[in-house]
């Protein structure tokens, strides 16, 4: 509880600065401009909702899921994403979670790689090759899996000791500052109602805000003309922080997702979303 006091205190300082130093009138002008810009951006996003190209990735993922592939010439239909073999509906919303058979906490993508290896005989190197290229197989499968959780509540209680440990590490990583810009995830994501440029930023310390973000990933990013999964999103946030690139499917990325999904628990999945 004690660490939560940080942001309200900082916000108060900001408010003091704006009103005392710059004057209420000036602040008022700035807010007026903001509102028009924000309204029009809302309109922009609403128009994009009409047709989300992520549905094309969903289609591709479905085809990959149901097509026999690999040395074992098998489909992924018996893949166990946590609710049992072949039980796909709602499974993504409960990830990451601990899997006894691999003795690891896994997110959707790392679990899909496990399934590809065990069911299809496709090794991790092949399964993940070019994963970050637009429309990659693994991202398509993840998008398909996430879409099969539409309407399900995110539910990551982190009750298992290993999940609890991942949550502890995930929170630690969220606040970890380093590099030439002193950034951590918290730099952009621990304040309410803030924007970077015109992009609103979720505050992952606040449940409702964390939910509004996490329920829409994976998402089609219009600036990239591609669907990004949460793995990709996090790896790129870290790139923007000017850190080195973390490994795909690495423990750090899974643990961060445990923290984010835990905080967003209760949110109803709407993925795939569409974003800037």
């Amino acid at each position: 509880m004690k660490w939560r006091s940080a942001e309200p205190a900082r916000k108060r300082i900001c408010v003091c600065l704006i009103t005392a130093v710059f004057g209420a009138a000036l602040a008022g002008v700035a807010v007026g401009q903001d509102n028009h810009a924000v309204d029009e951006i809302q309109k922009y996003r609403q128009m994009l909702q009409e047709g989300n190209p992520a549905e094309l990735m969903e289609l591709k993922g479905e085809e990959l899921w149901t097509t026999a592939r690999g040395p074992k010439n098998a489909t992924l239909e018996q893949c166990d994403l946590g609710l049992g073999p072949g039980k796909l509906e709602g499974a993504y919303a409960q990830l990451p979670r601990y899997f006894a058979d691999t003795d690891r906490v896994q997110d959707a993508e790392s679990r899909l790689v496990t399934c590809m290896q065990r069911l299809q005989g496709i090794g991790p190197a092949e399964a993940t090759r070019g994963w970050y290229n637009p429309n990659s197989d693994l991202e398509a499968l993840t998008t398909y899996a996430a879409a099969r959780s539409k309407g399900h509540k995110i539910d990551v209680p982190a009750a298992h000791p290993r999940e609890r440990e991942a949550l502890r590490i995930g929170e630690e990583l969220f606040y970890r500052r380093s590099g030439p810009l002193d950034f951590s995830c918290a730099t952009c994501h621990s304040l309410d109602d803030r924007r970077i440029r015109l992009q609103e930023l979720p505050n992952f310390q606040v449940r409702a805000s964390a939910q509004s973000s996490m329920v829409t990933w994976p998402a089609y990013r219009v600036s990239q003309s591609a669907v990004w999964t949460m793995e990709r999103r996090l790896i790129d946030c870290i790139r923007q922080m000017r850190w080195p690139e973390p490994d795909y499917l690495s423990e750090a990325i899974v643990d961060l997702q445990v923290y984010l999904q835990h905080n967003a628990s209760g949110g109803v999945m709407e993925a795939p979303g569409i974003k800037r």
């Binding site: 028009h36 810009a37 029009e40 951006i41 309109k43 922009y44 996003r45 128009m47 994009l48 009409e50 970077i196 440029r197 015109l198 992009q199 219009v222 600036s223 003309s225 923007q240 800037r276």
Partner: protein, 153 residues
């Protein structure tokens, strides 16, 4: 709910379908081939001339439905409606793109002059909706501001 089946594996059928459309008038957009020259024009007036028309004049009967601000120039949603009788063709132009023409549509009888698509914009500028109705070219304009979102890198 939705059925889907690929039916066309080569381009032959498409050209035939476009030829069969019969939506064009002589000297107008040519259905049988992509109009390379049209997509190389730099100004709306030049495009209209190329298509055999004059003008165009601004018309309140044509409307552009689009946000004032787009968060990314790579995807700008544009809706166009025309209240003019005999609207036979609609084109979307982006004033400051390297080539001005983004897309043109022919509107056969029975299809409403009301469509939506998405275009790329290199920078803040006017978008034009060019309409050919009753043999005349008219247009509507709307400025759309392209902003930067996100971290900037």
């Amino acid at each position: 709910m939705q059925t889907r089946r690929g039916f066309l594996k080569s381009s032959g059928g498409l050209v035939a379908a476009l030829l069969a459309a019969g939506f064009l008038e002589p000297g107008d957009l040519r259905a049988e081939e992509w109009n390379k020259a049209a997509f190389e024009t730099k100004k709306m007036e030049d495009l209209v001339k190329l298509l055999g028309g004059t003008g165009p004049a601004e018309s309140a009967e044509v409307a552009i439905v689009a946000p004032d601000i787009a968060e990314n120039g790579a995807v700008v949603p544009i809706g166009i409606t025309s209240k003019l009788d005999k609207t036979r063709a609609i084109a979307i132009l982006v004033e400051k793109n390297p080539n001005v023409l983004a897309a043109m549509f022919s509107i056969p009888d029975g299809t409403l002059p009301d469509l939506q698509t998405r275009v790329k914009m290199a920078q803040t500028c006017n978008v034009f909706a060019l309409v050919r109705a009753g043999g005349k070219f008219v247009y509507a304009a709307k400025e759309i501001k392209i902003t930067l979102g996100g971290c900037g890198g």
